[in-house]
Symmetry: C2
Subunit: 215 residues, 2 copies
DNA sequence: CGACCTGTTGATTCTGCTCAATCAACGTGG
DNA sequence: CCACGTTGATTGAGCAGAATCAACAGGTCG
């Protein structure tokens, strides 16, 4: 696997979600477990219960349909919590995208600061609803723009966006094909909106233009 | 407006979500407010806070983008709770679809059974994630099939599905156009999968076939 | 009755998918 | 060191599904 030189740790994350620190303090979380690239954190059908805290790296939450189509519902980076489930079985599965460090938080069935949990759950809901709008009512260009801006914001807003995931993951997150992802990046490049320094390293030249596409 | 003869009340709902009754009991909710067809329950930008409980009728949760495209993130029927927001402003707006009775629940900032709230929020999250899969990885036929089965289940699973919303709402929920909705219903009719008793009254002839489309 | 709204249907266009070839990066083994 | 296979990314050609544009039908309400 690749070890990127610029791992963002939870402590260093500028946009550390409010609530997560309280939760961490209150829950005396377990040690960090390292999941190499592609490793399964929990599988579809596994018993749900504990929540997970991303210490570094990136995690993808996916669902696979019977005929093999995959939808990635979210990516989670350092400082974020995932693992909420409506039933006692995981309807989705979680995998490490690029080598990720994850802490297990104590089972949600005990006495816990449910206030913080509620906050985190509602925030997840908001993100997901947002993404619904992207998948339901935006074309491929706009979807890609939304992802770039999202990643950019989560990475501190600098000019360079690092894509921890590969084209296939981006495609399954945006509900398009990986060929289309490739074409759109080329298109953005030709319009001088981005520059491709490496396959997973993108410089945003025209932030405005991207933002306009998401209006 | 239309007053449908078969209003489903919260008390009569067979699939009343666990957690909501506890919440109702604990929160001494306000009286039922009636919102006629199309009435706004809260607007985008309004201050968020209270939750809402659907007593009868149907509510839609929407977001409008700058260029006028609308995405309906969810419909809520009798017995369901809506109004969760990640920030203190509503990112979405809620409207009555067909004349709905709604109770305001006490503000979430007080001392409350956050356990029940968490359960409801997580359930909303699950539903939304489910819908993500539909919008991201299914074609128009499959989306329609998913909606029909969803409504069918929420209405008790009988042969007749009642569509409280019009074609436009279905389209904006499924991320397609209303013309396509119309065509697909015609297509399902021609395949003897459904029968159209009225414009908003559909009989499911081949439940199996619909289920297969959602596999 | 006419205006209007919702829904249906048809013709055409276009976005994004499918299929396929090519390329670059990387690892392996002779 | 180089030939080979593998994997991920890019690009092209043709096609399909759904959007767009447009016409029309049926019902409701003033």
């Amino acid at each position: 696997m690749h070890i990127h030189s610029t791992f963002r740790t939870a402590a260093a994350a500028a946009n550390l979600p409010v609530g997560a620190p309280d939760l961490l303090a209150a829950m005396q979380p377990a040690a960090v477990t390292f999941y190499p690239e592609g490793a399964v954190i929990y599988a579809q059908g596994d018993q749900a219960g504990p929540l997970y805290f991303v210490e570094f790296g990136t995690v993808r939450i996916c669902r696979m349909s019977a005929d093999g189509r995959r939808q990635i519902t979210s990516f989670h980076v350092a400082g974020e919590v995932f693992g909420f489930e409506a039933t006692d079985e995981h309807d989705f599965y979680a995998e490490s995208v690029d080598g990720a460090g994850v802490r297990v938080l104590r089972s949600t069935s005990g006495t816990q600061p449910t206030g913080s949990l509620l906050l985190l759950a509602v925030r997840s809901l908001g993100r997901t609803q947002n993404h619904l709008m992207v998948l339901g009512r935006r074309n491929a260009n706009e979807r890609m723009a939304a992802l770039l801006l999202d990643l950019n914001e989560r990475q501190g807003g600098g000019a360079i966006v690092h894509l921890p995931m590969q084209r296939n993951d981006i495609a399954d997150y945006l509900g398009i094909t990986f060929e289309t992802v490739s074409r759109i990046l080329r298109c953005l490049k030709d319009q001088h909106i981005v520059r491709l320094h490496a396959v997973n390293e993108i410089e945003i030249l025209d932030h405005e233009a991207l933002a306009d596409m998401c209006a």
